[in-house]
Amino acid sequence: MNAEEYRERRIEVAGWPVNLASYRLGAEWHSTADNVSPGAGLARTTGATREEAEEKAVKRAEELLSRTKRHPV
């Protein structure tokens, strides 16, 4: 088994930059979302298509990122 059609792109989710990666393992698509600057993983999802896997990852990332509080400095 190999990861095929690996793709990475930068998007913005809930005001934060997110690195969205997706690839196919066999018949299943996988996607991961992480917040770019710290690099922490936010979501790991699967789907029947790239779009489905990415959509789930973005949705989960949005749930987490929308809870992030910005404090006055």
Binding site: W16, A21, T32, V36, P38, T68, K69, V73
Partner: protein, 287 residues
């Protein structure tokens, strides 16, 4: 590799593909996301979970010598084994594992440059088979605490400016705007940074493909912030794993002599009663 001071601590994905099955090599995946290994890993690799196998789960601490010996023994590792560690997030927790292996004196431990991300992007073979390993009776050396910084040393360094403090978190964590990486739970009472610390986010040491930047680029990056080996360096982040990545860069890729990882990091300092914190962006980041 790219004129690093200690190129022997890095291996390429090519090297790993060729040597993962060698009898004296043990490949280990260490991820932030501990489910990643199950999805598919370097054939022959075993997995260590950072949150259960690479820390003391009762007291906040790294592994004890006995716990480290048990981990190595159950992983089929002997003192002569070449340990090759890789993981997600550009080797965050792989570097954390390497740091502990160095503390307990494992002679030959290396990171796979680019980590899991590069292996996937290159379309290399993945396995879902968990290999069986033959147990060993590993005996570790006594902990080399010259690689680790504790709170009193950090307090002294901050007060006397006797060491360079490097905050490797994101600029927003450094300034105090956020208390944890976006999307992760807040784990401290105060935002900001240790007084005197310079902001050099860990990710600046990496190329887009997850590999480390060249020695020249790394030297320019850190020297630009005054980190040139003229003073001891203490790296910190939130819980110590991102800073073990920077510790690895400074100690092995640039060859600085006195570099320590403060694994107490912001979850210790940012929760201390009576500790000063500084807030605001780094000088170079201010408009």
């Amino acid at each position: 590799m790219a004129n690093y001071a200690h190129p022997e601590v890095l291996v390429s994905t090519d090297w790993t593909a060729s040597h993962a099955a060698d009898a004296n090599v043990r490949v280990v995946e260490v991820d932030v996301d501990t489910k990643a290994y199950d999805e598919g890993h370097v054939p022959g690799a075993i997995a260590w979970a950072w949150n259960t196998q690479l820390c003391d789960t009762v007291r906040r601490d790294i592994l004890s010598k006995e716990q480290f010996e048990e981990l190595m023994s159950s992983s089929g590792v002997s003192p002569e084994t070449t340990l090759v560690i890789y993981g997600d997030n550009n080797n965050w927790f792989a570097a954390w594992a390497l740091w502990q292996a160095k503390i307990y004196g494992h002679a030959d431990v290396r990171l796979m440059n680019g980590g899991r991300k590069k292996w996937l992007a290159e379309g290399r073979e993945l396995s879902t088979t968990v290999p069986t390993v033959e147990r060993t009776r590993y005996r570790a050396k006594n902990a080399d605490l010259s690689l680790r910084a504790f709170l009193p040393q950090v307090q002294q360094a901050s007060a006397a400016r006797s060491s360079s403090l490097v905050d490797v978190r994101s600029p927003q964590e450094y300034s105090g705007e956020i208390l944890a990486p976006p999307g992760l739970p807040e784990t401290c009472q105060r935002g900001g940074h240790i007084p005197g610390a310079r902001s050099i986010p860990w990710g600046k040491a990496c190329n887009d493909d997850g590999t480390f930047k060249s020695a020249d680029d790394l030297r320019a990056l850190y020297a630009g912030e005054g980190i040139d080996g003229s003073k001891p360096v203490i790296a910190y982040c939130r819980i110590g794993e991102r800073s073990s990545h920077t510790w690895f860069v400074l100690k092995y890729l640039l060859g600085l002599d006195h570099v320590t990882n403060y694994d107490g990091s912001w979850t210790e300092w940012g929760n201390l009663v009576g500790a000063n914190v500084e807030k605001g962006a780094a000088a170079g980041a201010r408009g």
